[in-house]
Symmetry: C2
Subunit: 215 residues, 2 copies
DNA sequence: ATTTCAATACGCTTTTTACGGTATTTTTAA
DNA sequence: TTAAAAATACCGTAAAAAGCGTATTGAAAT
């Protein structure tokens, strides 16, 4: 019997998953959470074997939740259930310790399959992502974990203000800094993220909210 | 018997909905579609009463699909099932002719309720959106439908290139235009959308992909 | 047939960003 | 306790964007 915890803020999806799992008596959904905070609250008492984790959730998103789980409950296996088909997202989640990454358009059999394989210690991703998983597994041997917390909290604060349309002067006013300081932060952010203009920064920020800890 | 068509590219959600509706013999899911094109292909032969429509779908998104449905099958009632809680999105879909807007975190009863009310000719939205619906209903009396196709196709082309990080000079090169022309387009876009810098434009574009016809 | 709109392009000015630095202080980690 | 990283601030220049315009052409609509 594999004990499963589901975390997603969309109840229709949760209800769907409940009914999908109802036909299997070797899987049991022991609890559901609507956000990451609920996951953290529940794991201690419920001791799930596997967590099906959404990325976009209120309070504590999937990435943040995964980081906490990996440090406090490293034996729990986490499968990401997401609709984001973005290479960076998938790699980020694998690097954060997810054992699987499935799109929400997955079918029942694939879901069952993934859980079984991961419970046995393997990895499992949707077909399209196999090459990303291979890349991750190849790199993980070299054991160079680089991109941990790429941006500082001050930098994140500034990214968020840029995304909201503020100029350096406005940001300086809001944070009681010199415009020069904001300018330097902006330059450092560009350098760290390997970007060269505001449009790309905003795009990057919106596509990586979860990993940047924005919103 | 209310005949329902479900359109969503996430099969887990579709499976969930199927099972949710299985307990009701006055509702029948007569078909499912994974994208807007399938919806258009199916409505002719299947004649659904109500369509549950996702916004983010490949090939033809929910907004585009709704526009086609409203012109070719105005009697079919459309309920948006989305996870976008953004005022502009909700208003856009209502203005395009949707009769309901539910979040994917809705529960079974609310879903049944919505379908029944809408089938009887009413509107139904998730609780949080009631004020937006009221605003829409108030404005729709004045019958001034303004924001139809706000941006021209050339302007959309330029928005998309801006979002990808191109400068005016680069865009001019790509489109064989003068930098001045691109500059004018950019100014016109800002004016039409009531924005004043690139960061806000990129944010707006990414949050309104469906309505802008991007990607 | 005429108005409207989209697409094109230019002029001028100011603001903002981008990119190359350097440098001090404070915080954090080894 | 010493080195590294983060936060702060400045200097200068060039490029780009933003904010005012105006104007011509061609297509579409009325």
């Amino acid at each position: 019997m594999i004990k499963i915890l589901i975390a997603d803020d969309h109840n229709v999806l949760i209800n769907g998953l409940k009914l999908i799992f109802a036909v299997r008596d070797d899987f049991k959904i022991i609890s559901v959470a609507n956000n990451g905070q609920e996951v953290i609250d529940l794991v201690k008492s419920e001791c799930p074997d596997v967590i099906l984790l959404d990325i976009n959730m209120p309070l504590l998103n999937g990435y943040q939740t995964l980081e906490i789980l990996k440090s406090d409950y490293p034996e729990i296996k986490v499968i990401i259930l997401s609709m984001l088909n973005d290479k960076r997202n998938v790699l980020n989640m694998l690097e954060a310790g997810a054992k699987g990454y499935l799109f929400k358009d997955t079918d029942d059999k694939q879901l069952f399959n993934a859980i079984e394989m991961i419970q046995q210690g393997g990895y499992y991703v949707s077909e399209d992502l196999q090459s990303i998983l291979d890349e991750f597994l190849a790199n993980s041997k070299c054991a160079d974990k680089k991109n941990k917390q790429l941006l500082s909290s001050r930098e994140l604060e500034i990214v968020s203000l840029i995304v909201d349309g503020n100029t350096n002067a406005e940001i300086a006013d809001l944070l009681f800094l010199s415009t020069r300081t904001v300018d330097t932060h902006r330059k450092n952010i560009f350098h760290k993220l390997n970007l060269n203009n505001t449009a790309l920064l905003v795009k990057y920020a919106l596509e990586n909210k979860a990993f940047l800890g924005l919103q």
